[in-house]
């Protein structure tokens, strides 16, 4: 029997942690914890930073739980794989301009900006959009180009280095859909809510770490 990877979904009070856990458990992984305990984070094979909500609230909650230092060490020094989802992905940025300027984790250089679109494009960007995949490996090996994923956001991650953008979608402007820098992954859409395509992406993420 192959040892199941240990996955910790970081609980920082604003994420939709249960949805993410449901999706990963549905794929058959049993070793899934929702936690912000330092021991759990240290012992995990991979981390997931979920997110629903506003950037300011998210980053403040991370700071309040003293998670910045341990996450920096685990992710930047030990190179532990981490997947940020939605606001969890935006937290990887240098800063965000949602409700004033707030610093992020600064793991992938860039800024989180308001979607300023022409009148016919509603904001928030809600719904299923075709994702143009620039780099299939490792996050999108099971998905074909133009697969649909579910988005729900008013701000987007504008990466300074175009190389870090591994997928995007078209919504008046080029909206970053997924980023990667080594062991650091982030997706703007909600894989836990993107039906089978999202489940495939989780499978790819977990396959890539084990």
């Amino acid at each position: 029997m192959i040892k199941q990877p240990s996955i910790v979904i970081i609980d920082y009070g604003v994420g939709n942690t249960q949805s993410v856990a449901n999706a990963i458990k549905f794929l058959g992984y049993k070793n899934v914890k929702i936690s912000c305990d330092f021991n759990d984070i240290e012992n995990a094979d991979a981390l997931i930073l979920p997110g629903v909500g506003a950037f300011e609230e998210a980053i403040q909650n991370i700071k309040k739980r003293n998670l910045v230092e341990i996450l920096n060490y685990q992710v930047l020094d030990l190179k532990k794989p981490i997947l940020g989802i939605c606001v969890g992905m935006q937290l990887l940025a240098t800063y965000s301009e949602e409700n004033g300027k707030h610093e992020g984790l600064n793991w992938i250089k860039g800024e989180v900006k308001k979607l300023n679109l022409s009148r016919e494009f509603s904001v928030p960007h809600v719904g299923w959009n075709d994702v143009i995949i620039k780099s299939k490996d490792p996050l999108f090996t099971k998905n074909t180009d133009l697969s649909n994923f579910y988005f729900d956001h008013s701000f987007y991650f504008d990466c300074y280095d175009e190389q870090n953008v591994i997928a995007y979608c078209d919504y008046d402007i080029k909206v970053t859909a997924a980023v990667q820098k080594g062991n650091i992954f982030g997706v703007q859409f909600h894989p836990e809510k993107s039906h089978n395509n999202g489940l495939k992406m989780f499978r790819d993420f977990i396959n890539s770490i084990s």
Binding site: N16, N22, G53, A54, S122, P124, V126, Y150, H195
Partner: protein
């Protein structure tokens, strides 16, 4: 390109999914988790679960129900009914809800919209409005008092957007359970006053009603409750028909892309030689 969304509204009353007719009559359908499991498998784009007894019975949201159904659905789940404060919203999100629909509380406590949007992001806050046409004007309907209020629907929708709502779910009381199709006039007027996505509800009978609302109005999503409950593969068959004219997501394994429909949008039988050729066809199970 962003797809138009086909949502299913699951109306729950005292723990049972019901068919609602004109906000007055309710027929039992079944258990919420089973309804959601099927809707998910059939590829619905979004599920809106509304507990119509929560406010009336003063129980607040039924967290256990949400915890169970969220294990069966991997599409966005909007939860409404009895939501009146931030702690309830937080707990619903913990149970697996993605968005919260506020109806009664949005009318009586507008500050809740702003506060919820600030904490959970405005994408999380869906303001649900029940609209009824009174003397040629659309008014907000109060389903508890069973009468309309002296609030104009369009100005309220605009106000909700300003306060931080991320989407408007607009339900036509006149069309609810009527199978007469969506209220196109209502949807057009709402879309003209707000810039946030609008979800149309009330009156859908079949795929043609979805095609009509998407081609005549700018709504981002349209929802049906009743008719999705009553036949096998209701969602993917409906979507296959809509997909012939409207850009929607159709990615289920059984996608009915080559299906033909009769005038009542029922599937036509395939030709005998096609059925014969399918006899020995091996269908591989999709492994994720």
């Amino acid at each position: 390109m962003l797809k138009k969304r086909i949502a299913a509204t699951v109306v729950v009353r005292d723990g049972i999914v019901v068919q609602s007719i004109g906000f007055e009559k309710y027929l039992p359908v079944g258990k919420p988790d089973i309804a959601i499991e099927f809707l998910n498998q059939w590829g619905v784009d979004e599920i809106i679960l509304i507990d119509i007894s929560a406010t009336k019975n003063n129980t607040g949201p039924q967290f256990d129900v949400i915890r169970e159904v969220s294990k069966k659905g991997f599409v966005p789940l909007t939860v409404g009914g009895g939501v009146s404060n931030i702690e309830q919203i937080r707990e619903l999100m913990n149970c697996g809800a993605d968005k919260i629909s506020i109806n009664k509380a949005a009318i009586h406590n507008k500050a809740l919209i702003t506060e919820a949007a600030h904490i959970f992001g405005n994408q999380c806050v869906v303001v649900s409005l029940d609209a009824i046409k009174i003397d040629g004007k659309y008014k907000v309907y109060d389903y508890i008092l069973r009468k309309h209020l002296d609030i104009e629907v369009f100005s309220f929708a605009k106000e909700a957007e300003r306060l931080g709502a991320g989407e408007i779910l607009i339900n036509s009381v006149d069309r609810d359970g009527s199978y007469l199709g969506f209220d196109i006039e209502l949807m057009n007027e709402i879309c003209a006053v707000v810039n946030i996505p609008v979800i149309a509800a009330g009156g859908a009978k079949n795929a043609n009603d979805f095609i009509e609302v998407f081609s005549k109005t700018k709504v981002s999503a349209a929802s049906a409750a009743n008719f999705f409950n009553f036949f096998e593969h209701s969602v993917n068959i409906t979507k296959a028909k809509i997909n012939k004219e409207i850009n929607i997501r159709l990615e289920t394994f059984a996608d009915y892309k080559d299906a033909e429909f009769d005038s009542d949008i029922r599937l036509k039988k395939k030709a005998d030689d096609v059925l014969e050729s399918m006899l020995y066809l091996k269908i591989e199970k999709e492994i994720i």
